[in-house]
Symmetry: C2
Subunit: 504 residues, 2 copies
């Protein structure tokens, strides 16, 4: 028998159960807080029509299209140069295919192959391609279902996306994105922008991944400020890219790059950097911005930012967890108002763990109606991979169960099953050991998988109508009456639950 | 601006938020019970290597492969016959492409196109295709990670799968499968087979979709019985297909079909149908089977079935919810022992909502080591679609929140936000109304989305430090002190929760 190597394609991450559970735990926390704020789930197909996906016409190189494998294999065969000595077989294959496809062959090999390839190409390619983000699908969804949706639409979406990244880049070609957006019809109050950071705050607090900082700005401010100091409109995009690197490359190189890109004097460029890089409090910075003279659009940006910061405070996000940061410059081709980035204070190398912002018009490619929105996206697979590498989260347990009911006397299986059933009824995840092995092996299994407790009952225990509960994580064991098992395990569970709450 | 139609490809289902929430609710129940029994989540990439997916070589026609869109478009251009009058442009395009690909053109149009197509085909196709089930990926996963897994491996997997079904068939091309399997290394106790029906029982009981029946059999029994009455081994597969239709077509046609397919006398075929179709109790049937003489393999099948039924009883599945049904004949090319099917008693038209069984060797294409397993699969998307159509589940709410905090005095936004924050802290999903609209519009929004409660506070309420809670589903409202809001909403929530528990 031919044995096929059990491998996955490069760039497609796959986790062992313990890591998968860490990812799922994060996903559950994200989902819970999205719903706590009233966001409803939607899911779009993995594929969109090619025309839909390429509406913007930008990411083409990374888009995976979907084909029909069987036709594709025939197309490959038709296009393949016959190997030396196999010309006859190749010819016969062409004839067979031609017969199937009802195509008359001319005898001219090139022309015949081309004719067959034309027909097969039509059968191979479809009108579909895999989505590369969740924004284009959302835009298509909103435009397509607008008559059946209630606005403002609060939706979240946690799905895989696919990008044909170059293999050397170390990036994932498949990863989870967790997106949350509010979409208004016609207009959308700035209070919606204020709510987003408080959701981020709740999620990352509960994930317990150390200190984090939600950086907030407004696209209008940076843009109008740059125009105001003399950066030509045509250089705006480049200037933003330079500013985006400010933290990484430092003041001197940023000043030089700004001068060369926009033609502003070095002194002005220094002022720009000093303006962007500031160490005053959020309140002082907003006051300073409010005192500055600028275009109407600049003033509008400052007013929006100020309202958003007020809202963030009213929503109870502690002062230590957010900050106005005028250097946020990524994505500003797309965002038109509030922008957010979130970083781990003690692990800046991990980069932004969550970014987003406000946009004027979500679905302009699909409808004339205006749908402004605001949202953020968490790149979950990348985030969890990095948190695992940095040991900020740990993948220890490879079972969602906390209790293993061991079976040392298989004639009492009915009793073991009854214990398991009562534990499960009270909400405790548990497993019964079914294979015929000595207790030592059963306990090794329990330790390897990361169970917290082992329930043990043999002749002695059954004689006394009792049961032993071994705490595997810290050692030690207790004996209870069988009737008190559930109550006691629930209690032990609560004690341990402080570190690792039961998965609901 | 060109406006693109916001459509999805045919055969790819997409739900509105309320339906999506119904699907998510079912998914949560399934997930909770999988974990309650100690099954750990895994996820495999959406794609597998083509060699892996086609190892069995069967489903080819339905497999979608993954290509690179940009190269594919060039390939299409090269293969396209130039339109009349556009020959010159077509020629120029070929030259440009040839330059990019560094191919010297010969001047012979056919040969040149073929040469370009060969290179572009290599750039278009990848080594990947979308998985069409979760069994092949599981087999590859187990074989590939066996050194890092603890056996028996209890895993569940809830992912989309893709099948290039014919559009007319009305089948989905993308749908969720929820699979659960236990995989042993070398051997696997029959008790694992007994556990599966009790998981199914818990899931469908909690889903409250009416009476259901878990039908259980053993592949060895039907097979050995048929061989025993003289059905030739070569006709087994056909005989099974005929028996699978028994309920649908009735006794007479089944007898005729069996006679013609296997050459057994009509009298024998009648005995077969009578044997399969029986109305005795589970206990009586097992006793009858135990009393029958048959091959060793027949006896082994009966012994396994008897142990499984004992286990199902010990696990507390009520007698009304399961039944031995010897007519289960689907999938028996694959299953080698216990088999399961589950149907809705009052909606037989919906068909099997969950099927599975025991197999001897999961990963034979990828490794020589033997991995026996037992599992079931729920086709979730299809199930939910049918339950929605049959109105067995309802999609009423389009928000996961139960409380809408209205905002009739926008200067008190800080107070509204504080109320919302305290509700959220106590686990209640809630939303604040941010747009500047009259109360009537805010309440209409709340009703449309399906909130249970609206919190209302204006000048009068604030003057008395109180707040009004309107119960939207049944009408009526109560006034509480602001400090007692959370406690009272929690209480009201519990009352309503009997019908619609809070989503955790």
């Amino acid at each position: 028998m031919i044995t096929i190597r059990p491998e996955t394609p490069g760039g497609f991450p796959e986790f062992l159960p313990a890591e998968q559970m860490a990812l799922d735990d994060a996903k559950n926390i994200i989902k819970r807080w999205f719903e706590r704020f009233g966001f409803a789930p939607i899911e779009t197909p993995a594929v969109e029509l090619k025309d839909v996906l390429t509406a913007k016409g930008s990411l083409d190189k990374q888009i995976y299209s979907v084909s029909r494998l069987q036709a594709e294999r025939n197309l490959e065969a038709v296009l393949a140069k016959p190997k030396k000595g196999e010309e006859k077989e190749a010819k016969e294959r062409l004839s067979t295919l031609a017969e199937e496809l009802k195509i008359e062959l001319s005898g001219d090999d090139d022309a015949d192959r081309l004719a067959l390839a034309r027909v097969l190409m039509g059968r191979t390619s479809t009108d579909m391609a895999l989505h590369f983000d969740l924004t284009v699908p959302l835009a298509r969804y909103v435009a397509g279902h607008q008559g059946n949706l209630t606005f403002p639409l609060r939706r979240y979406q946690m799905q895989k996306v696919w990008r044909g990244e170059r293999q050397q880049s170390g990036r994932f070609r498949e990863f989870y994105q967790c997106d949350i957006d509010v979409i208004g019809r016609g207009s959308l109050d700035p209070m919606f922008d204020a709510e987003i950071p408080s959701i981020i705050y709740q999620i990352f607090s509960e994930m317990q991944i150390g200190r984090f900082l939600i950086r907030i700005s407004n696209a209008k401010i940076l843009e109008e400020y740059l125009l105001g100091v003399g950066v030509p409109a045509a250089s705006l995009s480049e200037a933003r890219s330079i500013i985006d690197e400010l933290e990484k490359v430092g003041t001197a190189r940023t000043v030089a790059a700004l001068v060369s890109a926009s033609g502003i004097p070095a002194e002005t460029a220094e002022d720009v950097v000093a303006f962007l890089r500031n160490d005053v409090s959020t309140t002082a910075l907003i006051e300073r911005l409010q005192g500055m003279s600028g275009s109407d659009r600049f003033a509008a940006g400052v007013a929006e930012l100020s309202r958003v910061i007020d809202g963030v405070r009213m929503l109870g996000v502690p002062e230590d967890y957010f900050k106005v940061d005028l250097t946020i410059a990524r994505g500003l081709d797309y965002y038109t108002g509030t922008v957010y980035e979130t970083t781990l204070v003690d692990h800046p190398g991990i980069g932004s763990i969550c970014s987003g912002g406000r946009y004027d018009d979500l679905a302009s490619y699909f409808t004339d109606e205006k749908f402004p929105g605001v949202g953020i996206s968490i790149g979950l697979t990348r985030l969890i991979s990095r948190l695992l590498s940095a040991k900020l989260i740990e993948a220890k347990k490879s079972t969602p169960a906390t209790v293993l009911v061991t079976a040392i006397d298989r004639s009492r299986m009915g009793d073991y099953l009854k214990m398991a059933t009562s534990l499960r009824r009270s909400g405790i995840n548990c497993e019964v050991y079914f294979d015929n092995d000595p207790l030592g092996k059963q306990l090794r299994y329990a330790n390897r998988k990361g169970f917290f407790f082992a329930v043990i009952a043999g002749e002695r225990e059954f004689a006394q109508n009792s049961v032993q509960v071994k705490t595997l994580t810290v050692g030690g064991s207790h004996t209870y009456q069988i009737g008190d098992l559930v109550e006691n395990v629930r209690y032990l569970h609560t004690l341990i639950g402080k570190e690792d709450p039961p998965r609901r």
